[in-house]
Symmetry: C2
Subunit: 380 residues, 2 copies
């Protein structure tokens, strides 16, 4: 397709991806994880793009992590042959998993209850198939999973290793690491994540059951783990783009953030110090993840068209297709005059949420020109 | 296409649309507005579906309101010939507007500044085209627009009625009505909305300029306006589905809400009273519009598969593909046992935001079976 060479030829709002920053983020994560004897299984829920997935993975065949069966289907069709579906399985989805496995994709599932384990074992038997299963472990109380000391753990493991189900390991996600700023606190969260899943694996092995895979993952803990003894694989996804929440935690710098929303100024309320732009919550998403951080970035941090942040200018409010840009509360920053038509770039709070609002990435090369357009998918 | 007759054959999460409730909501809005001598110009930003638009509009040709030029293009291609693009125009979008007008669609634009008016007049002249323009009026300080008493109003009007620009009226949106609960407060907001735009029209006419169209609109004010003297048209969109924010304002009842997200239970943290489901913020959106209302509905109110709310059960937290269901804080409601695989339906805070996360509506007929699938679009 013919692409606009210059940002001012793009319609707005548009999702920009700085290819150089993305490549740097991927290289940085790989370099950090290379210190450990682990498999890197990148999470593709953030990018939902085959082009980007191929840059994140060891090979076009994977390994990879996904959050929906639609992701599994699309990436499997693109040649990814080793996929972990990292959301607890329900029996109603097993036939879809089976269909994908029959195409040759080694799709693994997770669960954390006896009722799920029994359903998987039974359905596998009925289909003449063996589902590879990991047990989800709760390492920080934020979501799903069994505690390592839960007496049900070994029973779930036993039932997940019978009939049409094969226990291949344990996994956890330190989602709580999104709430602990600073390298030391994140390193401590990584150690809690490691300790929980390694303890669970030990309990399972002590009962005479197999547990070859010990999987951890979140962008903060993957970046700042100091010890991964006993861990066999690491998952992470948002690092590919990073975002303001990660920057607020100290996981990246603001100038590591690889995606931004291109927008145009459509008006002003100068008495209030407001500039109105054509990107609202439909473009940015409603994610307000920095609201609980020391620096609240509103609906996003405002940059000039070259990507340079304008000091203390944020999107303070958002309607569906209107964003209101103003000085951050209490910053005392002087209003900046941005005439109608001015192009701005807004850095997002949460890369997964903002990227999901768009059907494509406009790829920016090192010269700041648009060099390509990569489709992304959504839905289930 | 072959459709599942029963909800338990649908993949989850899925967006359900109760056709009977939608038709009732449309009929109710039409009945209320029939008391006034106005044109109804429904806003299609909520539905983004040709099938639904046709039920909302007077005729397949319109009139209609949109929030993006992509909406304008898709609805124009489907035969809608009278469209208001209700977001302030930027010069960079004028050629796209011109291209649509050349296809025979009477696409109108809005603006609120001299610089925009001059740009429209000049570009229209250059293209040999006359753009029909409305001036946006600020009726409650919440977003864009000129105050009716702003001395710039008449100057903008004058410049918007020269060259390739024709002034056809004024418009406002009482977005502030989303923050005032109760019929009396909303009726008062509707009167402020009416008074502002009628005053602006008078100022323009007093200057000897034309102002045939006087347009107001928001679902709350459209529903509870008691007087529309001087107003010629009303816009509203979210009423087609309604949502928990509208219910919290008293604009609708909970059982008027026509869309819900179908989800399945994937696990539990029973010690905490949590049920985990496979709809997270990717399905519900991050919209927390009820957080500022007396009853905070979290990420949504939980109903059984028949659509009956389960008392005080809400989605208290959401990850990308996980929702955590629990008793509303302080309600003291007893935990409900919902086994893995249980189908639930979650009513959304904000219909526009939740519907935007999906590519299709699963249509439920009066018997509760799925009777059809209607595509919806997104993007810009």
């Amino acid at each position: 397709m013919t692409l606009p060479a210059s940002l001012d030829l793009l319609g707005t709002p548009a999702l920009l991806l700085d290819e150089g920053r993305m490549d740097r983020n991927i290289a940085d994560m790989r370099r950090r994880l290379a210190r450990f004897d682990i498999t890197f299984r990148p999470h593709l829920k953030t990018c939902k793009s085959v082009e980007i997935a191929r840059r994140m993975m060891d090979s076009p065949a994977g390994p990879a992590t996904v959050s929906t069966l639609r992701e599994a289907e699309i990436f499997a069709a693109a040649g990814v042959a080793d996929i972990l579906y990292a959301v607890g399985i329900v029996p109603a989805k097993l036939d879809q998993v089976a269909a994908l496995r029959r195409t040759g994709c080694d799709l693994k599932i997770i669960l954390d209850s006896i009722e799920q384990a029994d359903a998987v074992a039974e359905r596998g038997t009925a289909l003449g198939m063996t589902f590879p299963v990991l047990i989800e472990i709760d390492s920080d109380g934020h979501r799903a999973g069994l505690l390592p000391a839960d007496p049900r753990l070994v029973e779930v493991a036993r039932r997940a290793n019978t009939g049409g189900s094969e226990l291949i390991g344990v996994m956890t996600h330190a989602g709580g690491s999104y709430d602990v700023p600073g390298v030391d606190a994140i390193t401590a969260a990584a150690e809690r994540e490691r300790a929980a899943v390694v303890a669970a694996a030990s309990a399972i092995r002590d009962a005479g059951l197999p547990c070859p895979v010990v999987s951890v993952g979140s962008t903060p803990t993957a970046r700042f783990a100091s010890d991964l003894t006993g861990v066999t694989e690491v998952r992470a996804g948002v690092f590919v783009f990073h975002d303001l929440v990660m920057a607020g935690l100290g996981v990246c710098a603001v100038d590591d953030i690889a995606i931004s929303v291109l927008t145009r100024v459509i008006g002003h309320q100068r008495e209030k110090g407001w500039t109105v732009v054509d990107a609202g919550w439909m473009a940015m998403s409603r994610d307000r993840g920095t609201a609980r951080q020391p620096t609240d970035q509103g609906y996003g941090l405002v940059c000039d068209v070259a990507g340079q942040p304008i000091p203390d200018l944020v999107m303070i409010a958002a309607n569906q297709e209107h964003g209101i840009i103003a000085a951050r509360d209490g910053s005392g920053a002087k209003p900046v005059d941005l005439p109608v038509g001015t192009l701005l770039r807004i850095l997002p709070n949460h890369a997964c949420a903002t990227a999901a609002q768009f059907g494509a990435y406009e790829i920016m090369g090192n010269e700041g020109a648009v060099t390509d357009r990569w489709l992304r998918f959504g839905g289930w």
